[in-house]
Symmetry: C3
Subunit: 419 residues, 3 copies
């Protein structure tokens, strides 16, 4: 991997990565090993498995993980593979079980992963050595993260300490999934993330999303503003300040926390105001769900943004939440998984209209997926060279790219030290 180290070392700061980072199957394998194999990956929400015995299977590249709520209500994660002949254990994306029974030779595991029955294995066979292999699993106020590594990054605790107060008022554990959707994107996972970390592209591409968003919330070159625009920008800055103060006084933490490039478990959050009626990511900017999330009483809670590296972003509004995870398929394809959450007692057709709830992000995801595909097609050719990020609108993309480069370097340095 000398080439990879060299390419990472000589990366031009402030520019997109060299083409192989988006196209090369070997670098993709390194990504899967280092980034997706050794960091906390967002995979869903507690309410994906609301009851004891509920199981959800998530595939992180080639590795399937069964997320199980055990009989005591604890959420656990296991490799979804029988310890006998390696057969896949659970075959449905979601199901409910008493025990986990392998279809091949009927080995039986309980919901804590313990092997409790295996026929014909002889007297020397020790069932206690053949339980399901566990996977690290943490719930951060209802957001589920797993880590495939033997030793998971310890600074998850620090992320939790900082983020939990922001999330708590939205009470995700008291929510339900109103809808979920998988979109196949024809691009490397890093292009999906880079696309998400800026809104420079929003004006030209997202006619629905730009209805609730304020254009000035996502950066601009102050020298390009005419006097009218400068006034708007200043008004936005004042409003943001006022809103943060108001929300915090209501017990809604709002100020930006940016830990994108100084933590192993990297994240960023901020609560942002919404335009128009100011309530939600909908076409009329009003709440999509009559029943508010958690114990919120004010629908104008803005949109709490949360990003975690390497693979998630989230919007928590007063009336609903949208959580997104990127799941790499190969160097040139990824799944974008989106889940829309509402209060668990909200009733479809009465408290919310589903199409209204999901409309903005169903459209926006497809638009983003197309853009990611355009980049993938572009970086494949001999004519691609890394291009410059805007210092005014893409500085957070640069931070995320820096995080990626830093994490890859850190691991490769470690590997070298060992060798």
């Amino acid at each position: 991997m000398v080439d990879l180290v060299s390419q990472l070392t000589h990366r031009k700061k402030g520019y997109t990565l060299e083409a192989p980072f988006y196209t090369d199957p070997e670098i993709f394998e390194a990504d899967m090993d280092v980034i997706f194999g050794r960091h906390w990956i967002f995979v869903g929400v507690d309410v994906d498995v609301p009851e004891p015995g509920d199981v959800m299977v998530v595939k992180v590249h080639q590795t399937e993980v069964a997320i199980v709520r055990d009989d005591d209500g604890v959420i656990r994660a296991f490799h979804n593979v029988c310890r006998h002949r390696g057969a896949r254990l659970v075959h449905d994306d979601k199901t409910t079980v008493g025990n986990l029974v392998c279809r091949y030779h009927s080995w039986v595991y309980d919901t804590t992963g313990a092997l409790i029955h295996a026929e014909h294995m002889g007297q020397d066979f020790d069932k206690s050595c053949h339980g399901l292999k566990p996977v690290h699993c943490r719930s951060l106020e209802g957001l589920l993260f797993i880590c495939l590594a033997e030793n998971a990054p310890a600074d998850f605790d620090e992320m939790e300490r900082q983020i939990a107060p922001y999330l708590a008022p939205h009470n995700l554990r008291d929510a339900k999934i109103a809808y979920e959707h998988d979109l196949l994107e024809h691009g490397n996972w890093k292009l999906t993330i880079e696309n998400n970390r800026e809104c420079y592209h929003c004006g030209a591409n997202h006619p629905e999303l730009t209805v609730p968003l304020f254009a000035y919330g996502f950066g601009f070159d102050p020298k390009e503003l005419d006097p009218a625009e400068r006034e708007h920008a200043e008004n936005y800055a004042c409003m943001l300040n006022d809103n943060h103060r108001d929300w915090e006084s209501q017990g809604l933490p709002s100020k930006e926390i940016d830990r994108l490039d100084d933590m192993v478990t990297s994240f960023r959050t901020e609560r942002l105001p919404l335009a128009g009626a100011g309530e939600s990511h909908t076409l009329n900017t009003e709440r999509a769900c009559k029943k508010l999330m958690g114990n919120l009483t004010n629908a104008k809670a803005g949109a709490l943004h949360l990003w975690t590296q390497p693979n998630s972003w989230h919007h928590f509004m007063g009336d609903h939440a949208v959580v997104f995870s990127v799941l790499p398929i190969d160097a040139e394809h990824s799944i974008l998984r989106t889940k829309w959450l509402v209060h668990k007692d909200a009733r479809e057709g009465i408290d919310y209209d589903l199409q209204n709830l999901i409309g903005v992000w169903m459209a926006t995801n497809q638009q983003d997926g197309d853009l990611v595909g355009y980049c993938q097609q572009g970086v494949r050719g001999k004519g691609y060279v890394p291009g410059p990020y805007s210092p005014h609108t893409e500085m957070l993309v640069e931070k995320c790219t820096n995080w990626y480069v830093g994490r890859m370097m850190a691991h490769l340095a470690q590997t070298r030290a060992v060798a």
Copy 2:
């Protein structure tokens, strides 16, 4: 290939192989070179090409072989490629020809493979140097085997000496193919073979096949039996003994021969009794075909099992036979080819009902294919580790895995000695 040697050397006895043996394209290429390129591969039956001029094309991974019955009735095998520009020669799976004519530039080969016509090649061109490249081909009592290597393993003669007496009474050369079927399995060829070499999985997965089979014929842990089960097992052992004695007295060799791990051309055979009416692999356990195979007069001939490594298994009953070959596609896909044989004079709709004839194995193959696919999905993930074979029900899987490891090692050792 140092890694491969190392992985083979350190294989944990009694356990499934490490994941790359089921998933890695380079190990698959080594399998195709060493196992499928240098051993006897079962590809069909004499009656696939019953008449002079009949041709069958078989694809062993990327190599197509034309199996031709020549004008004198001799079955020969050739690489299915013209010696001129490399065009594929025969394009149908089965056809009948006078000569073999290349469509590209009309070069003509006779049924012995000799080039007999090639226009415009000039006076210095020697047709005798441009005949079709022959492939080793042997018929063992009507079962066709080929070997792609320059020098084929010599112990085919030993296998023939031992097996021929078992097969002779079924007279496969006097049979016809009633039906054939290809199933695409989503798994490495070794998973298909491992699945076939045990019946530990039968009870939970094969409701049709377990009708004619006796559960106690495929191994069990005696310590797990309760008194009633122990009596059944003992009764089965007595019955097996009695049946073997009776069949052998009728000229039907029956006792187990197990040469799975002490020959290059590895095989195992045994005649086993059937449950119920005791006649055939059918749902009512009665014969599917009124006309018996060969010169058999007793329909209760049990089921003669035959396995050959690396790629076949067979069931020869009194009324019909089913022959199976595994043909690898790539590291993660294989074709399972099944042919049902009846006496050549048996008439469909009169002597046999086709759905009754093929029903048990059409269902069983699909069930096995699903299981193989589950294992392939399981071994892909980071959570797979080799698991233990049951000492009571999977000892023959272990022998077949040992054979594979031994053959790979033998070849790699040879390669090293040369280098």
Copy 3:
């Protein structure tokens, strides 16, 4: 790449290449680098982009090139990728633009490739350093060639000097595209080219094409002729001589120029007589289009053949022209792109019937595509060995293969000298 050098060095003269040259993904990548990355590639005709602002996108393996007629009428070529985030720029195969606008962040390039607008990039950003990356582009009497290398082979000028007089009377710049068609061939690009460089296969495979063609025009072994055939062959030679003399006296250069293996920019041309009515590649050998090409007044202009290495062939008749380009997809697949040209004022349904115009080559392409596929299937197997080219009918295939080997060697020698 030592192996590749060794394989090229030891190539058996007069024989097809070793199998990996048709199947190996790494050699394919070397082909794309050396052959398609550093030579002049035929990609279309001037009249693909007849008006200012017209754009055509051509994909040479993974590299998309936008061919643009600028506002001054100059045809230019650019890598079809935005200099900002690497997004594909033009998404239609053909379109017409004022400027080239990236959909991602609205960067704007004019038709000369200059970046004229990019928002939010800050005061230090130099637009003049971020224009579209140019690709070498030359029009040879209306045939468009591009070269992806930094430095394109200089002997394009020599090719132009020799070929331009042959092409000029057909005036391709005054033509229009009557029809175009892409055929996916299941074979390596070199098999497509080898197939095109001989007509030994025509008799057995091209019932339509052999109507207008003379069999003796494509080589034969004189010792195989019977007296009647010898007389036909001698008559053909006389007729060819007479035709060349007549055409040249009419200002239609006709004699063979063969620079297949002594130039970097390799080509061959010759004007050949047609059978029957002698006018065109049609089933009745009469002109398909009433209006003749350019300023031609004699419909019996024969068929001017032009080949350029690595990827084109062409037939220019009195009434129409057919131009072909081979565009590799991967080691085992290629696109054959065909365009039929008529005088720009010819009217479909009045001056020409489209099915009559395209019929012979639509059928012939499909037949050739099948043959290429047969070879690809043949060379994949272990039984393939390089076969001999006919010294009488495949000597030009040998020249093209020699050119390929020579160009690969020249580049690899250069690479070694540097290293």
